[in-house]
Structures are given as C-alpha cells and as structure tokens.
C-alpha cells in the first residue's frame, strides 16, 4: 500500500490499461485475420458481431438467456447453501466426518457430466433436473472447503468465544462462519465455474431452450455466425460473473486480506 503517491484516477487508469491491452490486441487480430475469411465455419468477426446483436437482443433474451441464467442462479445458490450447511456439520463433528469421508471422496471423484444421463432418467429433462445437475457438480468444492475451514477454527479464538458465552448459533454466526469464510469463498469461486459448465452441458444434452441448447441448435442447422455469437455470449456471461464474484470476494474478505497484509508486514 506504500510507495510514491499517485493520483488514484491515474493509477486506476493504468490498471485498466494493463488489463485491457491484451484483449484489445487479440480482438483486433481476430478482426483483421478473419476479415476476408471465406471459410464457412470461421466467418469474419464483423459478421459474428452483427449477428450477435440480431440474435441476442431480441426475443431470445427472454426465451433462452433468462432460463439459463435462472437455472444457473438456483443451482449455484443451492450448491453453496448445501455445501456450507453440510460442511459446517461435518467440520464440527469428527465421527460424522470419518463415516462420510470415503463416500464423499467417491462422489466427488465422479465427473459431474457423467451423472447427467442417470439424473435425467430420474428427474426428467426439465428445469429441476438441470438444477440438480448443477448442484451435484458444484457442491463439492464448497463442501470440502467448508469442512476444512470449520476444522481449522483457531483454538484460542474458540476458547475466547466460550469464555464470553458466545455459544450455539452465535458461535456459528460470529466465529465459525467468518473464520471459515476465506476457504468457503475459495470453494465458491470454483463452484461458480463448474456451475456454468454444467448449465451449458445439461442444456446441450437435452433441453428445449437455454444458451447451451441454442448453440447446439445453431451448429446443427449450420447457422455458423449465430453459433459463434452464442459462444461469445457464454464467454461474456462467465467473465461478467467472475468480475461480480471478485467484487463480492473483495468486500466480504476485506478483513482477511488486510490481516494477511499486516502479517506480511506491509501495513
């Protein structure tokens, strides 16, 4: 945090400059190289971008983007709630942990997409099934990280809480969850990208709408620029969600980053 005093606007501008340089270069290269492309499967970027507006700023926003984002939101939230809830239980209870560990390891080892055929058999191909697919794949990093975080609650802090009557729910709220939050958030970050992947795959597998469904439909009907625009939109969606997540992380773990900086003697 030290160093020469730089105008914050200037510093922010410089950070933005660093962050944007490579993307701008890549997009420009794509634009130039594809400009007179005659390859049917790799149309000019200009064509893709024009199509992008036509395809997505239309009825599809409601009909395909919204269902996808909704499934993602519900599935992801479900994974986080379930992961943290079970993680707190397992983290706090040694016996329970030892009993469940082998089973959890097994389920975690199954690649989530492999569960799709079975889940669709049992839950149909509706929204519920897709949400279940997302939850069943994204819950693991949250669960396992929460278990670790809860186990690692500091002894002294734990004694302090007890001696001041911070027990039961108050202990969970003021001690256990905040103490485990750095690990929980790390798990949530992994779960977010897994959720997006599973949303797309489950829609490609069997669906009547959604982003993954659209991309596959475009590909099968040789609507190549449309297909590219769908992929671009998925990329953008992932990028925006990851930015939002960073913002959330920076806010919720402000204390943690500050603590780490002070421990490294930078404060």
């Amino acid at each position: 945090m030290r160093g020469p005093v730089v105008d914050p606007v200037l510093r922010w501008g410089r950070t933005l400059g660093f962050a944007l340089t490579l993307p701008v270069v890549l997009v420009t290269l794509w634009w130039v190289w594809s400009a007179d492309s005659t390859n049917y499967y790799a149309p000019p970027l200009q064509t893709i971008l024009t199509t992008f507006g036509d395809v997505w700023f239309s009825e599809r926003l409601r009909a395909d983007v919204l269902p996808s984002v909704t499934r993602l939101a519900i599935g992801y939230t479900g994974a986080v709630v379930l992961g943290v809830g079970l993680g707190v239980l397992l983290g706090a209870n040694r016996t329970l942990r030892r009993v469940t560990e082998p089973v959890l390891e097994f389920f975690r080892a199954i690649p989530p997409p492999a569960l799709i055929p079975i889940l669709f058999l049992f839950a149909g191909i509706g929204d519920t099934a897709k949400v279940i697919v997302i939850v069943s794949g994204a819950v693991w990093p949250v669960l396992l990280n929460t278990v670790e975080g809860v186990r690692a609650v500091d002894d002294v802090l734990s004694d302090t809480s007890r001696s001041y009557g911070v027990t039961g729910l108050a202990r969970l709220r003021h001690l256990v969850l905040p103490a485990a939050s750095p690990q929980i958030v790390a798990g949530m970050r992994q779960a977010l990208s897994i959720s997006i992947i599973l949303m797309v795959i489950s829609e490609m597998f069997a669906s009547t709408n959604g982003l993954g469904f659209s991309v596959i439909q475009f590909q099968r009907s040789f609507a190549i620029p449309e297909m590219w625009s769908g992929i671009l939109l998925l990329g953008l969606l992932g990028f925006v969600l990851s930015l939002l997540f960073q913002l959330f992380e920076r806010r919720s773990l402000r204390w943690y980053h500050g603590l780490r900086r002070s421990q490294r003697g930078e404060n």
Binding site: V156, D159, S163, Y164, G165, V166, A170, W255, Y256, L259
Partner: protein, 286 residues
C-alpha cells in the same frame, strides 16, 4: 482479606492421550479473596495455562473443584473474563475494535444504550478512545492487548483471569500495560488472577505471589508482597525490598526446576533469563 471469592480445592489435571498419560497439574489448593490481585508464577511448562483453563471453566479438572462466589465452576461462568497471551488470536479479526468489545455484551443480552456506554468506557479506560472502528490487525501488539483487556473490563467480571498477557509484547509496552493493570484494579475493584512466568512482573503486580513447581504442578509457596500499594516502575523496582522479594521468588523457582520429581525433561532457562531481561529493560525504560 475478606471471605474467598475464588476457591481452588485439590485441582488435578491429567491428560490422557494415545497410550500415555501426562499429569500436568498434581494438586493445587488456594483461594483468592474478593478484590485481591494475585499472581501465579512458575517455570515454563509448569501447567500454568492448564490451571487457568480449569479455573476459567474451559477445561474440566480430573479431580478437585473450583468454586466462584459459592457456586461450583463447571463451564465458563458469567462473572469471569479471560485475557489470553496470544492477543493476535483472541481478537476476532473480522470485527472492528468496537465489535470485539461489544460481542460478549450482546451475548449478555444488554440493551444497545448500555452496551454502547460500556464499550466507550472500557476503551477509554485502556487508553483507546479513538480507534473504535479500526480492525485489530491495524493496531500494534500492545494496542491489541489493550483491546482484549477492554473487552474483559466491559464484561464487568468479578474475576479477571490473565494468562501471560504481556509475554508477547516489547519491554516498554509491557511496563505500560503492567501499570494499566494496577490502575484498572484500583479503579474497578475487580479481583485479578494474573499468570506469568516473569518473576519481576509477578512481584511488581501482585499483592500475593503463588509460586508453582515444575509439572506435575504443586504450589511451592504463597508469598505476601509487602510492597507499598502505590507502585511505580522506577521506584518500586529499584527498592531494596523488591530486590529481596524477587530474589526469594527466584530461588524458589530455581528450586522448583530442580525438584521436578518425575522424569520430566522440561528444563529451560526461560524464567531466569526473562527475569533478567525484564529487569534490564524496565529500569532505563520507565
């Protein structure tokens, strides 16, 4: 003094681990009167922390009882507050200074106005009136320990337990904090049980000093400190009586280390060295 507020009777603590048992505390009996300031001093590894945790209701003694104001301690009592050595690990890093001091009061179900008053008064009493909204890790070690003391004070305990609270701060800060404890004790009339491995500190702070043996621990001596009530780092520590008392405790500790009846190999020069360290540091410092 008056009738005992805190009574420790025949406390023994044996840890049972995988295949071996360690007797940390053998047999401790003593009592602390209402409003007393008692120091417990003993060599490193003498089971001081174990004893303190038993008193605080954080550990259950294997045998014996701890009684606070007539009631047996079988869990952390409301009338007790503990200040730990590791200030960096006893404050909640995700809460502000104010939040840290206030949390126990919320658990006590005090109303907001009263909580605010207690937090403000306590932080002022420890000389931290202007850092309410800082986070603990933004403060120096000495200031963090002041926050921990403020939290204990705001809790309005009958007994304040302190487990080597100043072992991890520098000598100058330590002298300041020792004087803070004396002045809080005078001002609040709270009973203080102060555990330390520093002989000078125990003599300087206490009305009484309990000297512990090495583990398995027993009390070797219950020494009354007949220094004047008004103590200053410079005068008190350079008085002949102070030197006599600390010399006496020092001898006892040396005896304690060599009289470790069992097979314990915990011999360390820590008490002696830290005693010298404190003397050297405190004299020019204050």
């Amino acid at each position: 003094m008056t009738q005992p507020l805190l009574d420790v009777a025949g406390v023994q603590k044996t840890y049972t681990g995988s295949g071996r048992t360690v007797e940390a505390v053998r047999d401790l009996t003593f009592s602390v009167g209402d409003g007393e300031l008692v120091c417990i001093v003993g060599p490193s590894g003498a089971g001081k922390t174990t004893l303190l945790k038993c008193i605080a209701g954080l550990l259950e003694p294997t045998a014996g009882t701890v009684t606070l104001a007539g009631a047996r301690v079988d869990g952390p009592p409301d009338a007790m507050a503990v200040v730990f050595q590791e200030y960096g690990r006893s404050l909640f890093p995700w809460m502000t200074v104010e939040g840290n001091v206030e949390l126990p009061l919320k658990q006590k179900k005090l109303d907001k106005a009263r909580r605010r008053e207690l937090v403000r008064d306590a932080l002022e009493a420890v000389g931290l009136a202007d850092v309410h909204s800082a986070y603990p890790w933004q403060l120096s070690g000495g200031m963090q320990q002041r926050v921990a003391i403020a939290r204990a004070v705001a809790y309005e305990p009958k007994v304040l337990l302190m487990d080597e609270p100043f072992a991890a701060v520098d000598a100058q800060t330590r002298a300041d904090l020792e004087d803070l404890i004396r002045s809080l004790w005078h001002k609040l009339g709270v009973t203080i049980l102060f555990v330390t491995h520093d002989i000078d500190e125990s003599v300087y702070l206490g009305q009484r000093v309990l000297v512990l043996s090495s583990s398995p621990t027993v009390i070797m001596e219950d020494l009354a400190i007949d220094l004047p009530d008004e103590r200053t780092q410079l005068e008190t520590r350079s008085s002949p009586r102070f030197a006599e008392l600390r010399g006496h405790v020092y001898e006892q500790i040396q005896l304690a280390k060599h009289r470790k009846g069992d097979q314990h190999q915990r011999d360390e020069v820590a008490p002696a060295r830290s005693a010298h360290g404190a003397t050297v540091a405190a004299e020019p410092g204050s």
